[in-house]
């Protein structure tokens, strides 16, 4: 075939739309970046359908006019970012074949290059590793083959294979994809449409044959057989939100290992069983006589040996992903334009560490969930050592640290640790767990240690804190007679209430702390208190005061309740 005619173009467009419509759900499932709305396939399919309707409505037989109709139709029907980008591909393509009755391979390649350029122009800040890259590489390959004198079929086949190959590598370019373990959804949509178009041109090559051809050509995974995110789950642990761009992530399995096994009646399920414990992102696809294997592992040698038993190995590729990862992160830095916010390197270590002292599983977890870098276990009757606090400061690797002692008996130790620390340390003098919570809520990682310290210290006095515990012996304190085993309600180092009922003592203590502006009571119940008991008290308090009452399992020893009123 020398030239692409209008009527063939019409068939290709129709076939592309049919294929994309049939596979849109699979494309939707891939959509994890930048917004997990999962409608890329639907949006691209509707956009392409709108383009094809316009093509079918046209009586023209000139490729230039039909491509123009497609571009107009897509423009009107464009939905979502992916649809808009697709419409710009078609716009660029139409500009490329403008005025032509038929297109030869060079003209077609030029139009594809224009299409890719127009797509880049549609995006305010183009990102590599997306449909844009897939389109660009396909167009570049088409141009290379056309210049060498390749005929129409060869040029388009080459472009399609390049698209498939580039798609398989999108996770290498985009951390968000790598983390989610998927290829780019928009790129997948483009490849699906291109396969549909190509099958109409060729009429003979089935998609499966193309798939295998691509595997042989590139030795990369046949990504389009991925049916769900789970099958290709992430092998990296994320150190920051993908929003900020490509981060250097910690790679759990270091070697991306890919190869083809050729043989007779190869047992694919057997290969999966052999390899599933050696790594992740395992993909085993193909036919009984040829199977493509892809796995992330720390033992590529073992993987090859296990599979070598089942057939002959071809196209073996082993890549160190740590290296790729660093390259990708570096590349992202290079691409950052001066007017964009710089891409932060992975925030490990943090610039300001927050080290808190807490006791009880629930309390420790709460502190961590509020942004503590590390929690040193300890508190009343179990004071941590200077060395323990110092070790936490050192291990944080931070440039500065804030320490929340959360107990007056720990305050001195914390100051001691600050004195001995190799990095500047500010101790926020929190005397209770609840004060620590109030202070932590004011912590903003983006701001300096000094600014944070000022705000956090101010927050300490904004809430009233108390503790409920049991007297361990008889005593007389400030003319108050206390018997062993009685409950004590304490606030600010003073015993405010006593009694034999834990609920009464707690209620009385809260009554002492309430003011007319109070709007929230929080109870952290200790290891000796059941959730049921705490819930009952919560209900009674909510009824009495008409304020919000929240309860959390603190799991702390010694104190039945730690509580705050604010």
């Amino acid at each position: 075939m020398d030239k692409l005619t209008g009527s063939v173009f019409r068939n290709m467009a129709k076939s592309a739309a049919i294929r994309l419509e049939a596979e849109k759900a699979r494309v939707n499932a891939l959509n994890v970046f930048p917004v997990p709305d999962g409608d890329t396939g639907t949006n691209m399919s509707l956009t392409l359908s709108s383009a094809v309707e316009a093509v079918l409505a046209s009586n023209s037989n000139s490729i230039g006019e039909l491509a123009e109709s497609a571009a107009q139709g897509a423009l009107m029907g464009a939905r979502g970012n992916s649809g808009v980008i697709l419409s710009q591909f078609l716009r660029g393509f139409a500009d490329g074949v403008k005025g032509l009755e038929e297109a030869d391979s060079v003209e077609l390649a030029q139009a594809l290059v224009k299409a890719a350029e127009a797509a880049y122009g549609a995006v305010i800040k183009p990102v590599e590793g997306t449909v844009l890259t897939v389109g660009k590489e396909a167009a570049a390959e088409a141009m290379r083959l056309a210049k060498r004198g390749g005929d129409l079929l060869a040029v388009l086949e080459g472009a399609l294979l390049a698209a498939i190959d580039t798609l398989a590598h999108t996770p290498d370019l985009l951390a968000a994809l790598r983390e989610a373990g998927v290829v780019d959804a928009g790129g997948e949509g483009l490849v699906v449409a291109a396969k549909g178009a190509f099958s109409a041109l060729n009429g003979e090559a089935s998609p499966e044959e193309l798939e295998l051809a691509s595997m042989q050509a590139s030795g990369t995974a046949a990504q389009s057989t991925i049916n769900s995110v789970e099958e290709h789950s992430a092998s990296t642990s994320v150190s920051d939100s993908p929003k900020t761009g490509i981060q250097e992530t910690e790679v759990v399995y270091r070697y991306c290992t890919e190869f083809i096994v050729k043989g007779v009646n190869i047992d694919q399920a057997g290969i999966k069983r052999d390899l599933e414990d050696l790594g992740d992102s395992l993909l085993v696809v193909g036919q009984p006589n040829m199977v493509k294997v892809h796995v992330h592992t720390n033992h590529p040698g073992t993987v090859l040996e296990l599979c070598g038993v089942r057939g002959d190995l071809f196209n073996i590729h082993i890549n160190n992903m740590e290296e790729q990862n660093r390259e990708a992160a570096k590349h992202e830095h290079d691409m950052t334009l001066p007017d964009e916010k710089p891409v932060q390197p992975a925030p490990q270590p943090v610039s300001t560490a927050v080290i808190a002292v807490a006791n009880g599983v629930g309390c420790i977890e709460l502190m961590k969930s509020l942004g503590c870098t590390a929690v040193v276990e300890g508190g009343q009757t179990l004071n941590p050592s200077t060395e323990e606090i110092l070790a936490a400061i050192r291990e944080s690797g931070a440039r500065k640290a804030l320490v929340l002692p959360n107990n007056k008996n720990v305050l001195m130790t914390a100051r001691q640790a600050a004195h001995l620390s190799p990095i500047p340390v500010i101790v926020i003098p929190t005397k209770s767990f609840c004060q620590g919570v109030a202070a932590l809520l004011r912590f903003t990682p983006e701001e300096s240690a000094e600014e944070n310290a000022g705000r956090m210290e101010a927050a300490i006095d904004e809430i009233a804190c108390g503790e409920v515990t049991v007297a361990v012996r008889d005593a007389v304190i400030e003319s108050r007679v206390i018997k062993e085993g009685e409950y004590l309600g304490i606030s600010g180092g003073k015993i405010l209430t006593t009694g034999t009922s834990i609920n009464d003592v707690t209620m009385d203590l809260i009554a002492e702390l309430m003011t007319e502006n109070s709007s929230l009571i929080t109870l952290y119940y200790g290891e000796s208190v059941t959730a049921e008991t705490a819930e009952t008290l919560q209900a009674v308090l909510a009824e009495r005061y008409a304020v919000d009452v929240e309860i959390y399992p603190g799991g702390q020893p010694v104190y039945d309740y730690l509580l705050s009123v604010e």
Binding site: A78, R79, K243, L366, S519, D548, E550
Partner: protein, 281 residues
């Protein structure tokens, strides 16, 4: 040679105000599963919140296509006119991008597409002022420069019942940091550089509302003129309360009230209340 003002439907401009000032609204699309609605044409805020309660699938939104922009621009302007088109932050929606693409197709009239870095009435207020200025004969360059100042001075603070909606639709931006706390934290959210961010995090609804007001009015100067808007997603009591506080703090304020429409409702969820404050001139 007239100046024509356009906004997208995320601006939450009321139909009355749009009609009064001859502002044209380009609809976004709201999806509930397979059900598709043109915002403010096929669905009102009231119907939307009823649907959100009934529907098993959560809603989603999609931007108008460049073609739709082109059609509405051409329908409501004539060759030689100047079009000012105000839109939702380009970091939250592709609407701005669609408008820009459409504007490139128009050769016989001048189109200025403006990214407000904002949402809801934060999009509408500059458009409203632009319409008024245009009506009194202020030159386009002057209108653009005044609007740029307004946009730079605009601050938005809002409270959501739950962060689920922002998270599910990927609009949580820099406020991501407040997610995952074991403590029930109420973040006071804001728009920072066109993205959602947490202005502060406090505990309890009462304190959250107090902080919202503190933040909104902390910098106001009595010598200046302000436009404010208070908005709610079916939370009229809170909106009224915010409106009276606003009038108390700024007796001269140019105050707008509107329900948060389906676009913002999709991403912030029912129960949301918000306040926008912007310096005028």
């Amino acid at each position: 040679m007239a100046v024509r003002i356009f906004v997208d439907s995320s601006s939450d401009i009321t139909p009355e105000l749009a009609a009064e000032l001859n502002i044209h609204v380009v609809p976004l699309t709201i999806h509930f599963g397979d059900m598709v609605y043109k915002d403010r044409i096929d669905i009102t805020p009231a119907l939307f919140y009823e649907q959100i309660r009934k529907s098993k699938t959560p809603p989603n939104t999609s931007q108008p296509s460049p073609g739709e922009f082109l059609k509405i621009y051409e329908e409501h302007s004539s060759p030689g006119d100047t079009i000012l088109s105000f839109h939702i932050s380009s970091k939250l929606s592709g609407t701005y991008q669609s408008a820009v693409l459409a504007s490139k197709q128009i050769t016989d009239r001048t189109v200025h597409v403006i990214d407000t870095f904002s949402v809801s009435m934060g999009v509408a207020i500059p458009a409203v002022y632009a319409a008024r200025w245009a009506a009194t004969g202020v030159a386009v360059t002057e209108i653009l420069s005044r609007c740029a100042k307004m946009i730079a001075s605009t601050r938005i603070y809002f409270l959501v019942d739950t962060l689920e909606y922002l998270q599910r639709n990927g609009r949580i931006g820099k406020a991501q940091a407040v997610v995952g706390s074991l403590l029930n934290i109420k973040p006071v959210l804001c728009m920072d550089d066109g993205e959602v961010a947490a202005a502060d995090r406090v505990r309890g609804k009462v304190q959250a509302k107090a902080r919202l007001v503190d933040l909104a009015f902390s910098d106001v100067k009595q010598a200046r003129k302000y436009a404010c808007a208070v908005m709610d997603a079916v939370n009229p009591q809170e909106r009224d309360a915010l409106a009276s506080i606003t009038k108390e703090r700024l007796p001269e304020v140019d105050l707008y009230q509107a329900p948060l429409g389906p676009v913002v409702g999709t991403h912030a969820g029912p129960g949301t209340v918000g306040i926008i404050i912007t310096e005028v001139e």
